[in-house]
Symmetry: C2
Subunit: 158 residues, 2 copies
DNA sequence: CGCAATTAGATTGCAAACAATTTAATTGCT
DNA sequence: AGCAATTAAATTGTTTGCAATCTAATTGCG
């Protein structure tokens, strides 16, 4: 709402084009960067994000994660998650079971194998960050910037 | 390479997880934000990026853009671009033709219809930015941050 | 209670991404 | 010239994203 500078239409276009593209390209570049590590785990990037959420879930209230809750966390719907979760189940990393209390819900639970995988991650990730020589301070700043944008786009106005 | 602070493994993990996810989510959120505008143009987001590059190409040397050149610009390969370009051709926005000088190359040229579309964009985009109340200064800062990361991930070391 | 809305997942269909392979044209080297 | 290596696209197959639709369970309300 605070449009202080009188940028020309062309300037705004150019800036916006660049941001669009850079955000899109950077996201894919990060995914590509994770590929070697994820290959070792046998996961795709979205599958990895799902595993991260499930690993974190232990700190939550006693409720088991559902497909819906996972979707809210990752901003993904069942059209994406259902087949992805089936693949993770096939790999033996988790189990999916209809909730007894409400048969519409599907509870997700990591298997032993799913938990064990977690232990391999910190070392792999550390190696990854070092290898690319990424500046952690820069990452902190970037995370904040992106968080701001993400909030503007997901919470607000329209 | 300048790892000044002694973050714990857990801190680094957490930070990194958040960045991964936020970058991925922000990219998709932006694409979602463009949807209404792109629906009016009948384009998908990647198709739109391709059109942007082609619209910009006029400023380039006399060479016509090729699939390869487009791919270098957008960091995409022919496996993605070939079918996408075929769809744009079907829509009558561009023509694909084997180069006479080198039959391996495919030259891309916008049609009249492809050029006309360009004129609709500034107004649509302006409306979009206003609607979301995005702070332009923030966008400038974000673009720089992301540009830095993108360079680290695409140019360097490994 | 009974039935219309709502809700959670699943399904279907299309368009990316991307790895791996294939095809055809061009280069380069001897 | 002749042939191996390289190069540009195309093709194939798998996995996302996401809209739209469908199914089944649950809620809410008269």
């Amino acid at each position: 709402m605070s449009q202080s500078k009188p940028l020309t239409e062309e300037d705004a276009l150019q800036l916006d084009n660049q941001l669009c593209f850079k955000l899109y390209a950077a996201s894919r570049a990060v995914i590509r960067g994770y590929k070697p590590m994820l290959d070792q785990l046998g996961l795709t990037y979205p599958q990895y994000l799902v595993m991260l959420v499930l690993w974190e879930w232990q700190l939550k209230p006693p409720e088991l994660p559902t497909v819906k809750a996972l979707g809210e966390r990752l901003l993904l719907d069942s059209g994406t998650l259902t087949p992805l979760l089936k693949r993770l189940e096939t790999q033996g990393l988790l189990r999916r079971r209809r909730a007894a209390s409400d048969e519409r819900e599907v509870h997700l639970a990591l298997t032993e194998s799913g938990w064990v995988m977690r232990e391999q991650v910190p070392a792999l990730k550390h190696a990854l960050l070092c290898q690319h020589g990424v500046d952690l301070n820069e990452l902190v700043a970037l995370r904040k910037q992106i968080g701001g944008l993400l909030n503007q786009l997901t919470l607000p106005s329209h």
